[in-house]
């Protein structure tokens, strides 16, 4: 049992730190620290910087342009990037479609699509959920009907994150209504410029525009855009759900959030004392700090298992559940810490002559509400518990 990093891992961490210190633009890290919205250009800029260093596609094998990192190296990079307030990687092309194509795509698809993800030519988004198929993806209805060497697509997708920036979408579509619901689903690539596609913004609870609805009306795409076999898309969907995703526990986010919380609670005042000196508040902080310290080790233990056993087991569900609970608790504490100053709309607070709170804290209530999503999206925590149940009770 040895919890320290190997000399190679320490060297790697130092390399990452130096890179972040030298290459991460201050405008970007400032925005991240403040919780401000990143523009499309901001995200593309950071992708380009990482790509220049060969570090963009952390989960890809080297032959396709990945850095060939071990799980521990990926963990180190994620944690350092979060501590440096680097923008997160937009995952749809890099962490989702990329691994899918590498596993299921034809050589031609890989050659066409992967380089354009790396160099930023394409921005992919995801067409999975539908209004009637959220947690129960197998019940999706949007259909692709074969017509010669084209599919004709009709239906609706929703919760398409950052779709407003995308020029491509990968979709799960129904290609057959026979057999079990899972059996007639296919994974298809679609160009968003194709006639018949309309994307509409969904305004979220806190007022932001992050997700979209996508409507397909007689949209024609070549059959060559099918990934894997027809009607076998469910295999790909499951691969993505249980695939070892980078940073599923979100430890980096939480570490960053805890440091911000600690600073905030040292600054806000209640009854003539710093909030951090209030025992009730400090007790909550200490509890979540403890949970987070444990989470770091749980994360490393499971990475270490994954390295040994190949595929990650249901443990990734555990990481998702506890990791998101910790992040939400941190968001909750930051919101509380602000007191009444949490309530004014952030834009108005910042644009007035006198800011109510430091710029890097203005968005804490917004972030709290927006991050209610992390226990819902990507397989809700209830779904994760069902997955764990199956594994643990051997049902």
């Amino acid at each position: 049992m040895d919890l320290s990093f190997s000399p190679e891992e320490v060297a790697f961490r130092d390399e990452v730190r130096a890179f972040l210190r030298d290459e991460l633009p201050a405008e970007l890290s400032d925005k991240v620290r403040r919780g401000a919205e990143l523009t499309k250009a901001d995200m593309e800029r950071w992708h380009a910087i990482l790509n220049g260093r060969g570090w963009l596609a952390a989960t890809w094998p080297e032959e396709h342009g990945g850095p060939g990192w071990s799980p521990v190296q990926r963990h180190i990079f994620d944690e350092e990037a979060a501590l440096a307030s680097a923008p997160r990687i937009v995952p749809f092309g890099l962490h989702m479609l990329g691994p899918v194509l590498i596993r299921f795509g034809t050589e031609e698809q890989k050659a066409q699509v992967l380089p354009r993800i790396l160099d930023g030519s394409d921005w992919w988004c995801q067409g999975y959920s539908e209004p009637g198929a959220g947690s129960d993806l197998a019940s999706l209805k949007a259909r692709a009907v074969r017509d010669g060497d084209e599919y004709v697509i009709n239906g609706q997708k929703t919760w398409t994150t950052l779709g407003q920036h995308a020029n491509k979408i990968f979709c799960l579509l129904r290609t057959s209504t026979e057999g079990k619901p899972q059996e007639g689903i296919s994974f298809v690539l679609v160009d968003l410029d194709t006639p018949g596609i309309e994307m509409r913004p969904i305004k979220l609870i806190e007022g932001g525009h992050e997700v979209n609805e996508v409507f397909f009306t007689d949209v024609r795409v070549p059959v060559a855009n099918l990934v894997g076999e027809e009607n076998k898309g469910w295999t790909i969907a499951k691969f993505l759900l249980t695939h070892e995703r980078t940073n599923i526990a979100g430890v980096g986010f939480s570490v960053q959030a805890f440091e911000q919380l600690r600073a905030l609670a040292g600054r806000m005042r209640r009854n003539g004392k710093r909030l951090i000196d209030n025992p009730l508040f400090a007790a909550r902080m200490a509890k979540v700090e403890i949970d987070l310290e444990a989470m770091k080790i749980t994360n490393l233990r499971m990475l270490s298992d994954a390295r040994k056993n190949g595929a990650p087991g249901p443990e990734s569900s555990m990481l998702k559940i506890k990791g998101t609970e910790i992040r939400q608790e941190l968001n909750d504490l930051a919101r509380r810490a602000l007191g009444p100053a949490a309530a004014p709309f952030p834009a108005e607070m910042l644009e007035g002559n006198e800011a109510l709170v430091p710029a890097d804290h203005a968005r804490n209530a917004e972030r709290y509400f927006n991050n209610r999503k992390i226990t819902i999206f990507g397989g809700s925590n209830e779904i994760q518990k069902n997955i764990l149940t199956k594994a643990m009770l051997e049902l």
Binding site: G207, R269, G272, F281, A341, A342, E348, A365, R372, I376
Partner: protein
Amino acid sequence: MDFDVSEDRRMLADSLNRFLADRYGIEHRNSVAYDAPYHDPDRWSEMVELGVLHALVPEEAGGFGGTGFDITVVFEALGRALNPEPVLAALISARLLVAAGRDVEDLVTGTSRYAAALSEPDAPYEVEDIATEATADGDGWRLSGRKSVVYGGHLADRFLVSARHGDGIGLFAVNADAARVTPYGMIDGGGAAEVFLDSAPAELLMTDAVAAIGDALDAGALALCAEAVGAMDVTRDTLLDYLRQRKQFGRTIGSFQALQHRAVELAAEIEQARSITILAASRLGGDGGSRTVSMAKNLVGRTARLVSEETIQMHGGIAMTWEYSASHYAKRLVMLDHQLGDTDHHLERVMAAYAA
């Protein structure tokens, strides 16, 4: 013992609920609540005519209510409709003016609009630990300081301001045009303002205002509890409807036992929140009233957060959207805890009795 609402109050509640449902429904509410001036003057006049403000003031001061149960009846209805109008500012101001022996006729008829400017950046929930200073200036006074997140301050003609003078904490009136007022909207709807006082001319209302401010804040906290109870009732009903109707995996999601148990736990907690609010209303202004209000604000704060978070979680994505009404209820239920003392602030007030 009798848990029925009196006939008079029931009639007020009915007419207010009907008015809010017909004339201030959720779509209209959202259009008002999130855009300056965060206020609909016509609807506000109609609400005043219905007697919303009279109900908050005792008879001897020209109203027809003013007890704990009058306050809860009004605010429960406002909470059900998520109403963004500045009734809370009127309640607290009226209570302060009555304590100062001032006339509240112009307030209850809607002729003048007051806001209580008590909170400060470094003393968000505290009555006494404030920095705003009052200096005598001839017959009058001048105030300097900053009052923060003044609810209703975006609409006020006149502010009731707490400030320290040589001998303690006094209450002063300041005309809005004597202060620099920065209005803004709130994440949960409605408006407030920062109030900057730079040697602003002020009228002294009370030299020792600590008790009066405490009482007014108790009334305000009780009002927020009742508002939350109203909002929680609606939220729970929305959730139960959704659980009955929404299908996933070929069944209504309400047939999943894990969700069932969470939903009924939430419903039980709402009944507890209602109970403590009733108790606080019965004791407002009397023995143990202040401690009971703190009990209520703590329990309601805990429950409202639970209801908000669980409602979003059990709905899934839909309750994360602006379009779906439950998201606005969820925001209000959480942000209520940031007004007039959060759960910890009030828990500490409850704990204080043990130190004896």
